[in-house]
């Protein structure tokens, strides 16, 4: 069991638009990972589709980079529709 890689599990629910990360599990290969994911994460109709990805294959942004990565978006509030004032008489905009 120590040799079995860790897999990250993503499930798309019936009405879900995208696969969502739900957790992880150990399995010897992708096929077994899908089978186990079905047992562990979809016992109550949580999903209609399963993705499994080896944890080792995921590259994540580092918590230390939070500011340089995400700060620039903070001061660009003009990217949101609420930034713009629309006169009340104007409809459908």
């Amino acid at each position: 069991m120590n040799d079995w890689p860790l897999w990250e599990i993503f499930i798309r629910s019936q009405h879900g638009l995208a696969h969502k990360h739900v957790g992880s599990l150990h399995a010897p290969d992708a096929e077994m990972a899908v089978k186990s994911a079905r047992d562990v994460y979809t016992r109550r109709n949580e999903g209609v589709s399963i993705w499994v990805v080896k944890s080792a294959d995921i590259t994540a942004s580092s918590p230390g980079d939070k500011e340089p990565l995400f700060e620039p978006a903070n001061n660009k509030i003009y990217r949101h529709p609420a930034f713009y004032e629309v006169p009340e008489e104007v409809k459908n905009i």
Partner: protein, 316 residues
């Protein structure tokens, strides 16, 4: 408080994040003691789910109807799932899955002492769902908001599923309590045996609890053991009344001034005795886990061999 050493700048920043309600994630800085406390707590919790399958597994083949058997199977399967969610959460703290499970099998790890009591009759399936899972829900709901992200997320899934566990248990008790005199007596006997161990599930009294204060600062714990226990008693007494069953505590009485039920003294000697390995079933539980692990060795070996064969074929 005088014994505390001042926090380092990193620790101060960490505490500020916790205070602000920001979740701590696996790659974030965390004090070593926070990591160790979480490893201990989450792994004990995971082991409790896994060992907790055993007292109920005892009754799967002897459930009174096919419906009850299917329900019990689903519940025990949920517990295996809960164990897995929690083992995954432990792993994010840098301990391998194998190490965590080896610690359990070697008898080095603790699990909830309630699972060291035997399940003597079918009514115990009702009492466990109603009281033991009822206690567990009260302990676990606040953990859905704890400071460590992976633990909090695992707990959200678990709490959703535990409600089914508690209700199916109460329904068993309800059916028995409306049954023959012998069935009512069986339900009462189960309540008599599981009541006090269920109160112990909330842990030692606040004054005695070693880890409580620090865990509360770290928001691993949000309510004290005594608060959780009181909540359980207040919630359960009216349910027992509805069943027409008597809670085995002569001191149990509504206290209108406090707005809570007063209840009798808990026998903490029994609690510590069971924790130290001298409960009725400690050895049997561990033996069953080790046996299951050893007898599953060939399945794990076969799965590995098959995966390897397929990988080689793809490479060729």
């Amino acid at each position: 408080m005088g014994m505390e050493t001042p926090l380092s700048p990193e620790e101060t920043k960490f505490q500020e994040r916790v205070d602000a309600g920001i979740k701590i994630e696996p790659k974030d800085y965390m004090p070593e003691a926070y990591r160790k406390t979480l490893i201990r707590q989450i792994s004990q919790h995971a082991h409790s789910e896994i060992v907790g399958q055993l007292p109920e597994g005892n009754w799967i083949t002897r459930a009174p109807t096919l419906k009850r058997k299917a329900i019990l199977l689903a519940k025990v399967q949920d517990e295996a799932g809960h164990g897995l969610y929690l083992y995954s959460a432990v792993e994010t703290l840098g301990v391998s899955r194998e190490q965590t499970i080896d610690d359990l099998l070697a008898g080095k790890a603790k699990y909830s002492s309630i699972f060291n009591y035997p399940t003597l009759t079918w009514a115990d399936m009702g009492a466990i769902g109603w009281l033991v899972d009822g206690s567990a829900i009260i302990n676990q709901i606040p953990i859905c908001r704890c400071s460590y992200g992976p633990y909090a997320r695992a707990m959200v899934r678990i709490c959703k599923e535990e409600t089914f566990h508690m209700r199916q248990g109460f329904e068993i008790m309800l059916t028995l309590s409306r049954g023959t005199p012998a069935q009512r007596a069986m339900a009462q006997d189960a309540l008599n045996r599981w009541w006090w161990p269920s109160l112990m599930m909330h842990g030692p009294s606040d004054a005695e609890s070693k880890h409580s204060a620090q865990s509360m600062r770290w928001k691993i714990k949000l309510f004290s053991n005594d608060e959780l226990r009181q909540k359980f008693v207040d919630q359960t007494v009216p349910q027992a009344d509805y069943l027409g069953l008597k809670i085995p505590d002569p001191d149990l009485k509504w206290n209108p001034e406090r707005g809570h039920y007063d209840f009798g003294k808990i026998d903490w000697d029994e609690f510590y005795n069971v924790i130290q390995g001298n409960g009725p079933c400690n050895r049997e539980r561990l033996r069953a886990r080790v046996k299951a692990h050893e007898e599953g060795a060939w399945v794990r070996a076969a799965a590995s061999a098959y995966a390897e064969k397929r990988a080689n074929r793809q490479a060729a």
